[in-house]
Symmetry: C2
């Protein structure tokens, strides 16, 4: 088999001819970043052939100079024979996505402690003593003791519990603590221990996002959150959005790579959360995970390809629960892991969980709209009589992806900002209070709204090149705005916002706004008909609604109609751990939702193009913004 | 850690001080035979300390000479520091228990082909095509197609099936073959494949005996037996009977050793059976295993200790089914493995399966008795109104264990014999027709009955030392009878029967007879009240009922009342694969049986002692034998 050596590290792998070079590199431990999922479209994985040759499908993105120097796309090249490949530093996976602990805003979570009926609980029973010739096994005796707790369901015993049973029953003379988890069909017996020392019963809520994963460790007896941890999804190096991930997953070993990355990312955060609370993994005896449909497929190792291909049919919408040990989730191995049900290929379990924190879950007459702004934007519209849902691809801009100095809402991120009308200088706050390292979603909204309302950028997102400002520099065709100089930043490099960033951001906000507008139109409604407009997303603790309106992300309705609910997916997932009733509601809601495929609607592209301005080509839709602009004379 | 070197191989292991020497040897790959389970009672594991020293609990069985030479029981010694240990050849596990394929007699198995409702079957369905916006996942579409086959039960999908589903549904345009197995609660979806090419649906029946394991591969569509394979249970080196195994299992790693040996033994036979039928393991999609209560515990890795300790409470009597992959059984990993329900600590799943082939399963008025003669003897007595059961420990003599030239009923075994009254010479038949290598259970019965009826041994089992015979040699206090000389045998060593062998055999037959007699007495009945006397056991194809009566193994009733059903456990297990109805009957029967603990009955020891003669101390119980003896003048 050909041997491929990667420089500068010298790491090598022997692989069959025809192996993709990025895969060969992974085998050698050289992790090449593939933000586009390996489709040859982003140009981030350029490598240089130093010796030997590769079989390459050349992508148009290469310059003549790059070609002359021997650069090829790793993702579009395959092994032909022995070769030595130089991997430039900027083609490697970076720890730019390093994690940090943040206080994520979870919105207004209903106080559930009053009527808790958690999925997992500990039951203390005194099992009758073994009797000679009573014809009862240990299991029979335990089943008799558990009968009053079964509510007519069966008890399901994994092998590991049967193996512990004889000692557990005899360790404290029949006094035993049984950890159960109700999986809907049966009561899973997760563990048995001698004695009546209950200890804590913990559950883990996971919001499995395309970009960000959030994990919460919950005490199921008092509904206390013991720890919240957030971090990037390690799949990010295999594509920034779900379509890139689907492309990346086209080979079986790469599907396994994505599955392992999701599991590894979740486990890392779970481990941190367990450490925060000084508990062991065996204490966490149930888990609910909410992710979009693609994330749910990848976590289970299911081929997501048909989600992308007409007629967009996923393998599962409602997956059965699996034991944590089977999925590789590092809590108690017998703990059931529940996956929030998905509604369609692009409306997933994060949405069915998320709307649990809204009026949409309460069967009200008033019409509400819920919008979850992330890498994908998902919208749910309805009331007691109807529930419609749709999705759009916003890209990772709101989570800091695809933005030069973008970052998640974590320590060092600029999360609020205002712009000085005269000088263009930005004033800002930084999460954690230290030096700024980058800009998170809420900071971007504030910065772009501020620059727009003060006239430093126009409605097409172009910086004003006529008015001199020490913060704006036009460099060829592109202008750049400096928020923090290199000397004052946390990274030693300036924190800047380029016109390309603004364009990326505008595409994201246009996708969201136009999807919401079209959805309402389909229902014969307008924004004015809404009783509550819920906004969810990982912006951080704050979202300036008026600025979001100013840039045309949110519609121009009365600000008090907006309800920012933060990471609603995580909050709703947490509720499902605390009360089985929420789990049933989630399932019922998912069954009631009608999925609207926007790509079927001829009007969507028009709506989208019209929204690619600040705030919108049709300024009459944003009268309050028009009023501000007119008042300031910009 | 101390290093222990084993000679002559030189294999070594580093183990903590205090480690049992037999365990240390196993770690070094030196397999020391422990027929008594490591209790220091059999004296088979003597090893010699060449250098260093061991911590030894000395057993009384050692001679002064052995002690002087440095011999100790490996099973009673533990590591104290570095040592060199000589392991004599006769202390090692031998391939005396090597396997061979035999035609096991399965008795009169009801022809089940007429009304088959097998546990596993293949269903060919045409799944509706995926439709845009129909809101259905692959799983939803398959579930709709399977609905008519579910009989109101739920379908259970393992992760592996979900992972295959999208490709299976698209490989032949929705035409799909679904392999199911009904586990009682739900329909397990074992596998999915594109197309309507059904192929065979196979099941595996396993009789997991203490000494012998039998495996049958069954075509579930036509009830054909594709292969039957038998072999020794590899646990045999860890103790010959269930009590020895329980003793051996007292340490956790030894319990795991026993579990692995059971699984390995079963897998070896399954592999042979699959090879015989030229099919792959994935074709076998369900499995029923019947074993006694201890074997069932060991297969599941459950601590069997409390079966042996007052009040003799097993961990499980009725275990739930587990996936083959979870148990390590090498058929389709998702195939459910069902374990025949046990009735008590000493009446197991082999019996609840075995009586399926008798009138006891048919709810008749007439009273029948079923007796399964193996390492343990189990008895069921009853009719439509009552079912009583008991067990006794016969030891492995009927399967060739504990008999110098004993062997299983396999190629080379003497299975039928007669004795010449004048010379004492034996005439015999050999399984397979070649040279004799040893004696199986039915051969032993014939030989001992023949020698007794012709006066060469007396009613206490002693050889006649007065009449000269070239075949009998008195060697000190013990006499030996030569059946086949070294020159004519298949092993190059003579096939002999010693007085010790006869004694061991008499203990075995006395245990069986006295248990049956006591059981009837408890029910207020006698042998004459029986309509049918079923005899099951691994004797081979033949069992000479009159000889079995002559030695007092079976009672002296009309020979036509006996029905030899061979390996009834295997036959009954096979029925459960072919028809779920039999599985339900088995469960119902196990619930109806009353377990009688003979050790509770003061009279048992008297009955047993009285039966330690040929045929019995009370010859009036055996009038037909008395008549023969009187007629021949012996």
């Amino acid at each position: 088999m050909p041997k491929i050596t990667f420089l500068p590290s010298g790491a090598a792998a022997q692989v069959p001819a025809g192996t993709n070079v990025a895969d060969a590199a992974r085998l050698a431990g050289v992790m090449i970043d593939l933000p586009c999922g390996g489709k040859g479209t982003c140009g981030k994985c350029l490598v240089r052939v130093a010796e030997g040759s590769l079989e390459s499908k050349q992508a148009a993105i290469l310059t003549g100079e790059q070609k002359a120097e021997g650069f090829v796309h790793a993702c579009m090249s395959s092994v032909a024979g022995d070769a030595v490949i130089v991997v430039p530093d900027n083609a490697l996976e970076k720890d730019a996505y390093a994690d940090d602990r943040i206080d994520l805003f979870e919105g207004a979570v209903p106080a559930a402690a009053a009527g808790l009926s958690p999925v997992s609980r500990k039951i203390c029973v005194d099992v009758q003593k073994p009797g000679r010739e009573d014809g009862l096994s240990d299991l029979d005796r335990l089943n008799r003791s558990l009968d009053p707790f079964l509510n007519g369901k069966g008890a399901r015993y994994p092998l590991s519990v049967l193996r512990k049973l004889s000692e557990a029953l005899r360790g404290d003379d029949g006094r035993i603590t049984v950890t159960t988890a109700d999986d809907g069909d049966a009561l899973c017996i997760v563990d048995v221990k001698s004695g009546h020392d209950k200890g804590r019963t913990l559950g883990v809520a996971v919001d499995l996002g395309t970009t960000t994963i959030s994990v919460q460790l919950i005490d199921l007896e008092d509904a206390n959150t013991l720890s919240t941890r957030n971090g990037y999804n390690e799949q990010i190096h295999c594509g920034l959005d779900v379509i890139s991930r689907i492309n990346y997953a086209s080979a079986r070993e790469r599907l396994e790579d994505l599955r392992a990355r999701a599991v590894h990312s979740i486990n890392r955060l779970i481990r941190e959360a367990l450490d925060d609370a000084c508990v062991s993994r065996e204490d966490a005896t149930c888990c609910h995970i909410s992710g979009n449909t693609v994330m749910t497929h990848l976590l289970l190792g299911l081929n997501p390809e048909y989600i992308r291909l007409e007629p967009y049919t996923p393998t599962v919408l409602q997956a059965p629960p699996f034991a944590a040990g089977e999925l590789g989730i590092e809590i108690h191995p017998e703990a059931p892991v529940f996956l929030s049900p998905c509604v369609g290929s692009y409306v997933g379990g994060d949405i069915t969980a998320g709307i649990l924190v809204t009026d949409l879950a309460k069967g009200k007459e008033e019409i509400s709209l819920f919008i979850d702004i992330g890498t994908n934007g998902e919208i749910v519209l309805g009331n007691a009589d109807f529930l419609m849902t749709c999705a759009c691809s916003a890209g990772p801009a709101f989570e800091g992806g695809g933005i030069d100095c973008g970052m998640r809402a974590t320590t060092g991120a600029i999360d609020r900002a205002t712009i000085d009308r005269e000088t263009g200088k930005a004033r800002y706050t930084v999460i954690g209070g230290g030096k700024a390292s980058g800009i998170c979603g809420s900071g971007l909204i504030d910065l772009i709204a501020g620059l727009f309302l003060t006239g430093w950028i126009d409605s097409s997102g172009r910086f004003d090149r006529e008015r001199p400002s020490p913060f704006i520099r036009a460099d060829g065709r592109r202008a750049t705005y400096t928020i923090v100089g290199a000397d004052a930043s946390g990274t030693g490099r300036p924190v800047i916002l380029g016109e390309t960033d603004v364009e990326n951001f505008m595409r994201a906000k246009a996708a969201i706004y136009s999807a919401a507008a079209l959805m309402l139109k389909e229902a014969g409604l307008g924004f004015v008909d809404l009783s509550v407009f819920y906004v969810a997303g990982g912006f951080g603790r704050f979202l300036d609604i008026e600025n979001a309106i100013a840039i045309g992300l949110l519609p121009d309705i009365a600000p008090d109609k907006f309800n920012y609910v933060g990471n609603a997916s995580l909050s709703g997932t947490r509720l499902c751990l605390l009360s089985e009733e929420f789990g049933r509601t989630r399932k019922a809601l998912s069954g009631r939702m009608t999925y609207i495929d926007l790509s079927n609607y001829a009007g969507y592209m028009d709506q989208y193009m019209a929204a690619l301005f600040l705030p919108h080509t049709d300024i009459r839709r944003f009268p309050s913004v028009e009023k501000i602009l007119r008042a300031s004379g910009t």
